[in-house]
């Protein structure tokens, strides 16, 4: 089982940085998401999770730290979270951490809450300090 690694980029489209680790099941998706083919992009991630469990992986931790995503991406992200819900419901350990910036920006937090309500799996909401470079 190989890692899935995608370097983040901000050109005509914005790709988040993706790090899915086969050795540990500790994974992260961070940055900005506005993609030409959002469904294909996130489908690949969902398939990696499914394969990881099929090949004997027992637990997945996913850190989501997204500062911007358009609505097409958000629909595709929801699909990925639903893949994780299915994995969780078939008896595997799944932890999802949703990072939102402070101060005075509750919009990313609300996005996390909405995802949680829709995908039907608990998501930990974790605040982080926004650095100037991330604005």
């Amino acid at each position: 089982m190989e890692d899935l690694t995608i370097a983040g980029s901000r050109d005509i489209y914005f790709s988040p940085s993706v790090n899915l680790k086969a050795a540990t099941g500790v994974c992260s998706i961070s940055g900005e998401s506005y993609l030409e083919e959002p469904y294909e992009f996130y489908k690949k991630i969902g398939m990696w999770f499914t394969d990881y469990i099929k090949q004997g992986g027992k637990s997945i931790v996913l850190d989501l730290k997204l500062s911007y995503f358009n609505t097409s991406s958000s629909r595709a992200i929801l699909e990925t979270l639903r893949v994780l819900k299915d994995i969780h419901h078939s008896g595997n350990e799944v932890t999802i951490n949703w990072y939102y910036p402070n101060p005075d920006d509750d919009e990313i937090l609300m996005e996390g809450e909405d995802f949680q309500e829709e995908c039907g799996i608990p998501i930990n909401m974790i605040e982080y300090e926004l650095q100037d470079s991330e604005n």
Binding site: Y68, T71, E118
Partner: protein
């Protein structure tokens, strides 16, 4: 004829000069244009990061709607992939105003107007619920986006969606939407 054309362009330019315009664009909404204007908006609104982020998010959704759903397609290239429309962003002392406009089929216009009216009747929490409901349901076959762009625009802005439409002929109308974001 040439003289009249020039005069109307001068009039248009003078009208725009009265306002603090950040962007005025008419043409195909291709991915490169979206990226250029998007970056310009981000830089412009840097002094107020929160408003800037919201302005950028609203711009992206409205611009993608024009790009995907405008009835009028790009005729400059052989591939008619990109929707054609117009977009203006300007600022007042207290707000950023973003307006977009494009051609739509009249039956599509009816659906958009209905959706905007529904959105305008909802408070913030009900809008979130509406977004969740739409996002969780299957996409209509002819949709390439997320089908929740207008709801997201309403969530990220500070006044009701201000929509207008002008009938062009029996089949088509020009549809505009205007959105305010407090600084």
């Amino acid at each position: 004829m040439e003289e009249r054309k020039n005069k109307s362009l001068i009039d248009l330019y003078s009208t725009m000069n009265d306002q603090d315009i950040i962007v005025y664009y008419k043409g195909p909404f291709d991915d490169i244009i979206l990226s250029e204007i998007g970056n310009k908006i981000r830089r412009k609104a840097f002094d107020s990061p929160k408003a800037g982020k919201r302005l950028f998010a609203v711009f992206m959704e409205l611009a993608q709607n024009v790009s995907l759903y405008s009835f009028e397609k790009n005729r400059l290239e052989s591939v008619d992939r990109w929707g054609v429309g117009t977009l203006v962003v300007y600022e007042t002392a207290t707000s950023y105003i973003l307006m977009s406009g494009n051609m739509v089929k009249n039956e599509v216009l009816e659906q958009i107007v209905k959706k905007c009216e529904e959105i305008n009747g909802l408070d913030h929490e009900s809008l979130r619920a509406m977004k969740r409901k739409y996002r969780s349901s299957e996409l209509p076959a002819d949709h390439k986006g997320g089908n929740i762009g207008l709801i997201q625009v309403a969530l990220k802005s500070d006044a009701p969606l201000d929509i207008e439409a002008k009938r062009i002929d029996d089949e088509h109308s020009f549809f505009t939407i205007s959105v305010s974001i407090f600084k």
